[in-house]
């Protein structure tokens, strides 16, 4: 296993800021801390060449996990081993073997053209001329960097900046890449480009990747495996395909009835929503066949209109967050 995380816990200390002058003085002299648990004993492992998506709502603990994995934050307890090293203890040696991209900030020199940062990185990581040129050519082609490499970074669009940042994190050919929300704030086209690039780097170069996102599309389009994290706990760790299969068999049936029914019974389907005479049911195609279900419905009740909808992965994830999706457990 390339990345191994066991029972990882991270507590932040929050300064209990009470208002008022005396409290401020007291805080300065005797700070009172409140513990805030960001990561609550998570375990997972990632093998070489894998690409794993870390998905969860805001505040779930994704960034905290990435920071710990990249060695800039010390875990409260638990074990983290990456490439045989403790990221935190061996920081200086460790950091040259990984690449990290934080979507919300840039490591590029803001007032200089992006090429200056690349030039600096070349010296910092002692990259040989030939390797540097080869990589720059590759990135330029795949990410169209040449279009804006000479412009000051502050003039770049978010999408361009992000592409340059990703290339900057990869210029020293790290074996492992961590991305923290690399697509945040980008439009569809820009997102798609980055997904495509990440995917091809994983497939062609075999770089192990872990990236966080709160956009399910990111995961569906790039990863084979996803880990769902919520409030510091891993609530699901499985193959994207399995979840897709699960979602593929789930359907929603929305029916508008001709008159008021107090009670509706439809074998194999559960009612999940009700708005006047319009009711929504959920069922699984491997449990009931659609024609049979509809025939049953028509024979028992007066129906004005009906639609059948597929469930997308996104709503499954939502159900997982909300602690629902009991049927899901059979899959994981």
């Amino acid at each position: 296993m390339l990345i191994q995380v066991e029972q990882l816990v991270k507590d932040y200390q929050l300064n209990k800021n009470q208002k008022g002058f005396f409290h401020a003085i007291k805080n300065l002299l005797m700070p009172e801390y409140q513990k805030k648990r960001a990561v609550n004993g998570i375990s997972f492992s990632i093998s070489e060449g894998e690409m794993v998506g870390f998905i969860g709502p805001n505040g779930a603990g994704k960034s905290t996990t990435v920071k710990i994995l990249s060695g800039v934050l010390k875990p409260t307890s638990g074990k983290v081993i990456v490439n045989g090293m403790d990221p935190f203890r061996n920081r200086k040696k460790y950091v040259s073997q990984i690449g990290v991209v934080f979507g919300q900030r840039t490591q590029l020199w803001w007032d200089l053209p992006a090429e200056d940062t690349f030039d600096l990185l070349k010296t910092i990581y002692k990259i040989p001329d030939a390797t540097f040129k080869k990589n720059m050519d590759m990135f330029s082609e795949m990410l169209d960097l040449h279009e804006f490499l000479h412009q000051p970074v502050r003039q770049l669009s978010l999408g361009q900046r992000m592409r340059a940042d990703i290339a900057a994190a990869m210029i020293h050919e790290p074996a492992i890449l961590f991305f923290d929300e690399p697509t945040i704030g980008l439009d569809i086209v820009a997102k798609e480009r980055i997904r495509e690039f990440i995917r091809s780097m994983n497939q062609e170069k075999g770089i192990t990747m872990l990236f966080t996102t709160h956009d399910m599309q990111d995961i569906e389009k790039t990863c084979e495996r996803m880990i769902v994290i919520d409030r510091g706990d891993i609530v699901c760790d499985s193959k994207v395909d399995e979840i897709r299969q699960f979602s593929d068999s789930e359907r929603k049936l929305t029916v508008k009835f001709g008159r008021q029914y107090d009670r509706i019974e439809l074998p194999g389907a559960q009612m999940i929503k009700e708005a006047g005479n319009t009711k929504t049911f959920q069922f699984r195609t491997n449990e009931v066949k659609i024609p049979e279900l509809i025939a049953e419905l028509m024979s028992r009740y007066e129906v004005l209109d009906l639609t059948v909808q597929e469930t997308d992965i996104e709503s499954i994830i939502k159900q997982i967050y909300e602690g629902g999706a009991p049927a899901y457990e059979s899959v994981s």
Binding site: Y12, Q13, T64, K67, S70, G71, V72, L73, K74, F88, R91, K92, K93, V95, S96, V100, F102, Q104, R105, Q107, W109, D111, L112, D116, D119, L120, T123, I124, Y125, P152
Partner: protein, 262 residues
């Protein structure tokens, strides 16, 4: 080592980007010196009996002090900005020493100021006023050494103030207090010769006069041979003391960052 030189080089270039700010800084330096010289001239004329040599001494002092003051000016908010933006984490992700990285950044800016501010200003004023040459070649070499030491005193003091950003949300007030103390106590505006004895005794207990006053006094040959070594030693001692305080604070700051996440 090459990486740090490269950082200094990029920092130099980074400063070149801001043309308008450059001209503003140059103008500021020139005008500040002009105003100060005018004030000193007025004082001398008031006192009467203008001694030419004494006045040249003052002129040279004022020009050197204010020019050095300009080039010892540093971007005081680099650390604060890095903490607020979270970029400090990205710096820790580099296989570099953060403190050397930071110093290289300021060093690049210093070179920029020397080349583009100090040299033009000195050239201009040596044409307009009678600026005294260094007291002697030996004193000039001592002066150069002392200026470098003075820069390190200033830098170590600044570093301590900057690090407070790890604990305070804003460092603006602390920076302002430090700036005022330096301006008044270092002899950047008023040579220590003109200050009350008691204040001078106090100043000699602080690092402030080792920043500008000692180097310029050496240049002017105002420090007797037997006190020269002691003056240089005071600079070294302050660099050590402030450096140690900075080191301890830095250790505390990184621990906080690493445990607290900035």
């Amino acid at each position: 080592m090459r990486a740090y030189l490269k950082i200094a080089q990029k920092s130099f270039r980074n400063n070149l980007v801001f043309r308008a700010e450059y001209f503003a800084a140059l103008l500021n330096t020139i005008v500040t010196i002009l105003v100060n010289l005018a004030i000193w001239r007025a004082i001398y004329e008031e006192e009467g009996g203008l001694d030419n040599l004494q006045f040249s001494l003052i002129v040279t002092y004022v020009i050197l002090a204010l020019a050095l003051f300009q080039i010892f000016t540093m971007d005081e908010y680099v650390i604060e900005k890095k903490i607020k933006s979270g970029l400090i984490t990205s710096d820790l992700l580099k296989p570099l020493s953060f403190r050397l990285h930071l110093f290289s950044f300021h060093f690049g800016a210093l070179l920029y100021r020397i080349v583009l501010l100090l040299i033009p200003t000195l050239l201009l004023y040596s044409l307009v006023y009678r600026v005294l040459p260094p007291f002697s070649i030996e004193m000039f070499l001592c002066f150069l050494l002392s200026v470098i030491l003075g820069y390190f005193v200033m830098y170590s003091l600044n570093f301590i103030v900057w690090l407070s950003a790890f604990w305070f949300y804003k460092t603006f007030s602390l920076v302002t207090i430090k700036d005022t103390a330096v301006l008044v106590l270092s002899g950047a505006v008023i040579p220590l010769w003109f200050m009350p004895q008691q204040l001078v005794h106090f100043i000699k207990l602080t690092p402030f006069d080792t920043i500008f006053f000692i180097p310029i006094s050496i240049y002017l040959g105002q420090i007797p041979m037997d006190q020269l070594l002691f003056s240089l030693l005071r600079q070294v001692i302050w660099i050590t003391v402030l450096g140690l305080i900075g080191h301890v604070l830095w250790k505390l700051a990184t621990r906080r960052l690493i445990v607290q996440g900035g």
